[in-house]
């Protein structure tokens, strides 16, 4: 009885450990992925446009330059690092800084007049409406009689 209990727990531990290893591996892989592009973006599509979100912690609206030309969206900017005085020194530096520029091609031309951008708590939210001329038109079929 006692042995069974111990064995059961041992198996659970093994499963938990495997879960942990899996979680660590995912963390490692996601860290690798994020090392390349900055900023990272999430893009969503709807019938009449796109929504783009990006994590830009520490940025003021003035630090960011957004331009749209037809289907190309460009995010440009710079992330300023805190400048340390002489008697201050870093122990740990994990955050990334510097200039960035990233262009994203959307599958439709964007109506640049109606683009809205909001920067809230370090997250950019861009609404990119599709050009009206590019909208799929529905042609109603009449029965010819």
């Amino acid at each position: 009885m006692l042995i069974q209990k111990v064995e059961g727990r041992g198996l659970m531990n093994t499963i938990q450990e495997m879960d942990l290893l899996g979680a660590r591996l995912r963390n490692l892989l996601s860290a690798q992925q994020s090392a390349g592009e900055f900023p990272l973006v999430n893009v969503y599509f709807s019938d009449d446009g796109a929504l783009l979100e990006s994590e830009l912690p520490g940025l003021e609206p003035d630090d960011l330059e957004i331009s749209v030309s037809n289907e190309i969206l460009t995010l440009k900017g710079a992330r300023q690092e805190e400048s340390l005085s002489q008697d201050e020194r870093f122990h740990r530096r994990e955050r990334v800084f510097g200039q960035f520029s990233r262009s994203i091609k959307l599958p439709f031309p964007v109506d640049s007049e109606r683009v809205t951008a909001k920067l809230n708590n370090g997250v950019l939210r861009l609404q990119l409406p599709r050009q009206a001329a590019d909208m799929p038109r529905r042609i109603s079929v009449k029965s010819g009689s």
Partner: protein, 134 residues
């Protein structure tokens, strides 16, 4: 590395990880910069999407824990096209030494960046002792 502030690592962190989350979103460890000056230690942590009111800082048994909950964005009517980052809560713990003046800890949040100011306790600041010639 100063002994005043150490990150919690090893066994305790593993135990934390094996605790199941009650919220349906993942928890991320925020990237942090730590710097030290003569009289204080400053922690800057990137927590994009976290509102000031959702940030919780607790100090228990010399372990300083920062948590922030992030509300997933409203994307109704949209379908996912490209997902490069995940949205979830943030959590990170640090171990404080006695050299920190616990009463004087300050925290502020700006544009998704948390700034923690940990003043060093006065009694441990280096004292200059003048030498008198007799």
């Amino acid at each position: 590395m100063s002994n005043a502030l150490m990150e919690r690592e090893g066994k305790e962190l593993q135990m934390q990880e094996s605790v199941e989350n009650t919220r349906p979103c993942p928890t991320y460890v925020p990237r942090a910069d730590i710097y030290e000056s003569k009289d204080q230690i400053v922690v800057l942590a990137d927590m994009p999407g976290a509102h000031q009111d959702s940030v919780e800082i607790t100090l228990e048994n010399s372990i300083l824990t920062v948590t922030a909950s992030v509300e997933p964005s409203v994307t109704e009517g949209y379908s996912k096209a490209l997902t490069e980052y995940g949205v979830g809560d943030f959590k990170r713990s640090f171990t404080l030494s006695n050299a920190i003046d616990r009463e004087g800890i300050e925290a502020s949040m700006k544009n998704g960046v948390l700034k923690l100011i940990l003043p060093k306790s006065k009694s441990l600041l280096p004292k200059k002792i003048a030498v008198n010639s007799n």
